[in-house]
């Protein structure tokens, strides 16, 4: 049943995806509203699916591992909704909706790598690791959306013409705030999540293998993240420079995520 509810949620997110595609060419208040309500509803079903997954496996951490794509999609959606509630803008949806759709699609078609857990893992640390990192990911995604939107808005203001979707973007400083706030909030989560992860690795393998692509990429992502917070804090970097860094961090995050497919360690196969 869990997968069924997830597929219902997927269908509803599809409306959001449609919005994202249409929003590129023209604006539609109605679609905006429909997409928003569909996403609300999608989140409800998504939540049901996650809770059911929890009951099936009977174990929080195991459920989190098995439904990782789905969980991440849900968290990104939640962050998006929080942003909407504060700033009344659906503009990040242009990136958020396709991403969430993709993740949910992967989860709903069971195409994610099957991660098995060895019994020796310290599950409470693993729980913390996954939970924290995922919140960090979600915040990073939003921050990336914001920096892309910032670039678009800045460009349209400089080009001195605004029409279609451009005229509906939030004000430049609002976009900036969205990006900065999500950056600031995501960073501690990401940091703590990585610490928790290294504790898990230590206890499982007795050492941290820095040669492993997953670990390497995660560290790279964290370093870029740190650099972003630092330059922003000290020098107020925004606009083009910040967007470049956000893109690098985002790319690192995507690759680090994809590393699940080929990292030997992160699969937690009891070998």
């Amino acid at each position: 049943m869990s997968i069924f509810w997830l597929r219902v949620a997927l269908g509803l997110y599809g409306v959001g995806l449609l919005y994202a595609l249409v929003a590129l060419t023209r604006t539609s208040d109605l679609l905006n509203k429909v997409a928003l309500h569909a996403s609300y509803l999608g989140m409800v079903f998504h939540f049901v699916s996650l809770t059911e997954g929890l009951f099936i496996s009977g174990h929080v951490t195991q459920a989190m591992v098995h439904n990782s794509e789905s969980l991440l999609a849900f968290l990104i959606m939640a962050v998006f909704m929080i942003t909407y509630l504060i700033y009344k803008t659906t503009s990040p949806g242009i990136i958020v909706f396709p991403l969430v759709f993709l993740l949910t699609f992967m989860a709903a078609t069971r195409q994610q790598p099957f991660i098995t857990m060895s019994g020796t893992l310290r599950t409470s640390w693993l729980f913390a690791h996954i939970g924290l990192i995922f919140i960090g990911y979600a915040a990073l995604v939003l921050s990336f959306c914001a920096s892309v939107l910032y670039l678009i808005q800045q460009h349209s203001l400089k080009a001195k013409r605004a029409s279609g979707i451009l005229s509906r973007l939030p004000a430049l400083e609002d976009i900036d705030q969205i990006g900065y706030r999500s950056l600031l909030m995501g960073f501690p989560f990401m940091t703590l999540g990585l610490i928790a992860g290294s504790v898990v690795a230590e206890s499982t393998y007795g050492r941290i293998d820095f040669q492993d692509p997953k670990i390497l990429l995660s560290l790279l992502m964290w370093a870029v993240y740190l650099l972003m917070v630092y330059t922003r804090w000290i020098a107020g970097w925004r606009g083009r420079k910040a967007a470049v860094m956000a893109s690098v961090a985002f790319a690192a995050a995507v690759v680090a995520w994809a590393a699940n497919y080929f990292s030997s360690i992160h699969r937690f196969v009891a070998s």
Binding site: Q154, K158, K160, A171, L172, E173, W237
Partner: protein, 431 residues
């Protein structure tokens, strides 16, 4: 003919004519009353603004009324020189005109928002004196709904038109909320002061003023309750402002790229907005290349204004399309309100039954004398007419009621009447 409208507006009549026809608010109730007392008029409403005077009426029995006569009579003026300024619309065209006026498509400045409020006031006055009832009420409330639709579905009326308000719009695009933002006014001039005033009205916190002559700066600062800055300190103070309006007579640019770089580093890259109204320009165009600095000169602003106007024209076309579909829809609805087809089909229906019954018993009655024939005819006809009397009079009185459709539906269902309504010419649309 039912709805009828007559009037003058800014296009058809010069102000001398319009002011002669304008009805002051205090006389409006009386005018509405006089209108409904005028022969042939059932309901009426009068809209009188500085740009238009219009009389809308629902005429009795569809015979049409002499609205021109009413105007001549009410204003006590001779018709001949007035008539060429008057426009007159009937039925669907009147409906369309009312929708267009309420949606601000017929306004001097298309999309200006006041007209809807004025129509609402006129409606309230007419309602208060009872000159608006069933059908006109439907028409006017529908017009409000159409106006709302036009407002929400098109951008007519959303764009700003003056340079000062374009400047405010742009500032909002950059800063979002203008509360707590600081403005720097460099040089003086009517347009730059207007822009500054607009920005302050939208919540900007404080204003700095600099001028070549310090005394002028002081007096301007006094006017805006701001702070006067010596011109030599301009570049040292400027980074404190988020929005800079310049309009000096300087022959060379006052703000160059290197200044911008300094401002940005002092401001930790928070964005800055330069509004350059001066000719020749006060701000070097290269400034706009800096990340976080936005420079709009007078041409850019002018272009923004004209693109707004062009946008508006495009949006007005979309609004016209909305009005057209709404007119169709309203017309279709009026037709369903029309009770005549139902009465006719009710009569037809009962007449068919009567004929069929007579034919059925004729064989059993045997040959009848002409007198008997007449008696049977009269008897059956009498019964049918008696039965029909109440439904028909109910239908007729229901036609004046906004809930007529339910009554019509009920009668149709009770008697199992088929849809016989023939589409009237020009509106054969199915929906």
């Amino acid at each position: 003919m039912r709805f009828q409208l007559i009037g003058v507006n800014h296009n058809t009549a010069p102000v001398e004519v319009r002011e002669r026809l304008a009805i002051p608010e205090s006389r409006l109730p009386e005018a509405c009353k006089r209108l409904t007392e005028f022969p042939g008029i059932d309901e009426g409403m009068i809209l009188s603004t500085c740009n238009r005077v219009e009389i809308l009426a629902n005429t009795k029995n569809g015979s049409g009324a002499d609205l021109r006569g009413f105007i001549h009579n009410f204003f006590q003026i001779d018709g001949s020189d007035l008539d060429k300024h008057l426009y007159e619309y009937h039925e669907q065209e009147a409906v369309r005109h009312v929708f267009r006026v309420a949606s601000s498509l017929d306004s001097m400045v298309v999309g200006e928002p006041q007209i809807l409020g004025q129509v609402k006031e006129a409606y309230a006055t007419a309602r208060a004196v009872g000159s608006i009832r069933a059908q006109l009420d439907q028409l006017v409330t529908r017009a409000f709904a159409v106006a709302k639709r036009v407002r929400t579905e098109t951008a007519v009326g959303s764009s700003s038109v003056s340079i000062a308000s374009v400047a405010v719009d742009l500032a909002k695009k950059i800063f979002g909320n203008l509360h707590g933002k600081h403005v720097f006014l460099v040089g003086a001039g009517k347009m730059s002061e207007l822009a500054a005033r607009h920005l302050m009205a939208h919540g900007c916190a404080s204003i700095f003023v600099a001028n070549r002559t310090y005394d002028r700066a002081v007096s301007l600062a006094y006017k805006f309750k701001g702070q006067a800055i010596h011109f030599e300190d301009l570049h040292n103070t400027c980074d404190r402002a988020d929005i800079v309006i310049t309009s000096t007579g300087a022959p060379h640019a006052i703000f160059r790229r290197e200044h911008g770089e300094v401002f940005l580093s002092r401001r930790k890259n928070r964005p800055m907005f330069f509004i350059d109204i001066a000719v020749p320009r006060d701000v070097d165009a290269a400034m706009n290349k800096l990340d976080g600095i936005f420079v709009y000169d007078i041409d850019d602003l002018q272009q923004a204004v004209s693109s707004h106007v062009a946008d508006r024209r495009k949006e007005a076309e979309r609004a016209e399309a909305i009005v057209a579909t709404e007119v169709e829809r309203f017309h279709a609805r009026l037709q369903t309100l029309d009770v005549v087809p139902t009465i006719v089909s009710l009569q037809d229906h009962l007449e068919t039954i009567r004929q069929a019954e007579i034919d059925r018993v004729r064989g059993r009655l045997g040959p009848l004398s002409p007198d008997q024939e007449l008696a049977v005819e009269a008897l059956t006809r009498g019964i049918v007419n008696k039965i029909m009397h109440t439904p028909i009079s109910t239908l007729k009185s229901a036609a004046r009621d906004p809930e007529a459709t339910t009554v019509i539906d009920l009668v149709r269902r009770l008697f199992n009447l088929q849809e016989r309504r023939t589409a009237k010419s020009g509106s054969g649309e199915n929906d």
